[in-house]
């Protein structure tokens, strides 16, 4: 079955890296995955978005339409990217960075960046906290596969902190 995700925020928050790790984890489980991205010309601060499609069938057109899950890490991203969510889709928000949550029935609010700062020590880990949230909410990819994909992708000296961030995100939703 085809599942479509959109991870959005601003440049520097790491949403593209989170999407790559998720797609890598899906591929490690033998699924087909396509990851694409769009971002502005700025190195930091511009709008940033990455999309992941996971399917047992081959994937050609790489754009997500009517996503099943949208993560928004800024107010701007939330306003822009939740609108075409599928009716039974889920909107995941960074609670502090999206003060005005859009009206959407299935919304999950997690203080993602705050958890990264207070529990792991740096906002830098917020994308991995978000990935933990996504892992739990979507159940699309085995959590162990995601752990391995994180360990594979991040700098070796940061693996322990990233594992902590991932677990904190995973545990932040019921």
């Amino acid at each position: 079955m085809r599942r479509q995700l959109r991870l959005s925020g601003s440049g520097g928050q790491g949403v593209i890296t989170a999407a790559i790790i998720l797609a890598e984890a899906a591929v490690s489980e033998g699924k087909n995955a396509v990851q694409s991205q769009s971002y502005g010309p700025e190195a930091r601060g511009g709008a940033s978005k990455s999309e992941v499609i996971i399917d047992d069938e081959k994937i050609f057109h790489p754009h997500v339409k009517a996503p099943d899950f949208v993560l928004a890490m800024t107010q701007k991203a939330a306003d822009k990217y939740y609108t075409d969510l599928s009716s039974d889709g889920v909107l995941i928000l960074d609670d502090d960075l999206v003060p005005n949550a859009p009206e959407f029935k299935n919304t999950i609010r997690v203080p993602i960046t705050k958890l990264a700062v207070e529990k792991v020590g740096r906002a830098l880990f917020s994308n991995i906290v978000a990935l933990g949230v996504i892992a739990k909410v979507t159940g699309l990819v085995n959590f162990d596969a995601i752990k391995r994909a994180v360990a594979h992708r991040v700098p070796p000296q940061t693996i322990a902190q990233n594992m902590m961030a991932l677990q904190i995100g995973y545990d932040a939703v019921a």
Binding site: I20, A23, E24, V27, G30, K31, N32, A33, V34, Q35, S36, Q37, S38, Y39, G40, P41, I59, F60, H61, P62, H63, K65
Partner: protein, 381 residues
Amino acid sequence: MSASLMQGNEAVAEGALAAGVRFFGGYPITPSTEIAETMAKLLPKVGGTFIQMEDEIASMGVILGASLAGKKVLTASSGPGISLKQELIGYAAEAEIPAVIVNVQRVGPSTGQPTAPSQGDVMQARWGTHGDHSIIALSPWSVRESFNLTVKAVNLAEKYRTPVILLMDEIVGHLRENVELPTAEELEIFPRRTPKKSRAEGYQPYEPDEDLVPNVANFGEGYRIHVTGLIHDETGFPVGSPKVTENLIRRIHEKISLADDIIEVEEILMDDAEFAVVAFGGTARTAYEAVKACREKGLKVGFLRLVTIFPFADKIIYELAGKVKGIVMAELNFGQLVGEVRRAANGQCPVKLCAKYDMTIFEPEEIIASIEELINEVNGI
């Protein structure tokens, strides 16, 4: 080898290495930079050389020098950088220097939209440099094919001693998907051509072989070589003669136009097709979805994907136009390659342009709408 997630640009670098490229000269530019980054990581491990030059012109110059010294070479850039490389691409065509130039297309003209996809350089690939020259351009639609076509580009550059453009786009260059790359044993690699005669036997560096391609010796291997952008005879030295001029210009065209291993297309669902969609590169992914959707609606639509862009598949398009009632050409620009399709179709059927140039990629619905309009036009509705 099990499947791994890989980016199109990374696959280009992997393909280049597998094809024997051991020299990369470049200058970073979005959306091509990952090719340079990956080459910088991989080349030193196999004894190759990565060099970041001061600009795109120097990057082109340095790979031509390295090629003349015997290395298989690659450079990568995007629109603004590719424009700067044009003079030396012509030099490579004239002096018959093997080189592969990757263009990961973004929106132009000029600096345009640096991070957004486009196929707006397709005619530049053919005619970007001045003068009568031939060129080879290939355009992949997937990460796996980015690998394959890089290998093919390097092979063709070596075999025909010509610049080859690998015409990527941001869609495929930045796309990550699962791939399984072939092993070295599965690949056919064309080695650098070598002289068949010694100096004593009358070796001339630009004397054409039977396939019209000269076996120019590498610098530093005991032969006397002169390389120039001026029209030259078999010695490699300039000659102001009409006959030599005519022969050289004809030969650099015919060595490519007479070859039978350059043009490649993929036909899908064409057997009973009454209409056809033609597309290439990243747009082909969406066009294929559109064709599948039309089939589900009961419309007899087929798909022809251009893998080789230049030399253009004249004969294949001519035959296609004789078989179907109409063709939709989908391309992510204001309308460029549609001119080639119309020329090759030669009026046998209508060729409808489906163009897009708003920095976003096609959605399948847009191409489906174009197909349905064409069907209605042909049926007089």
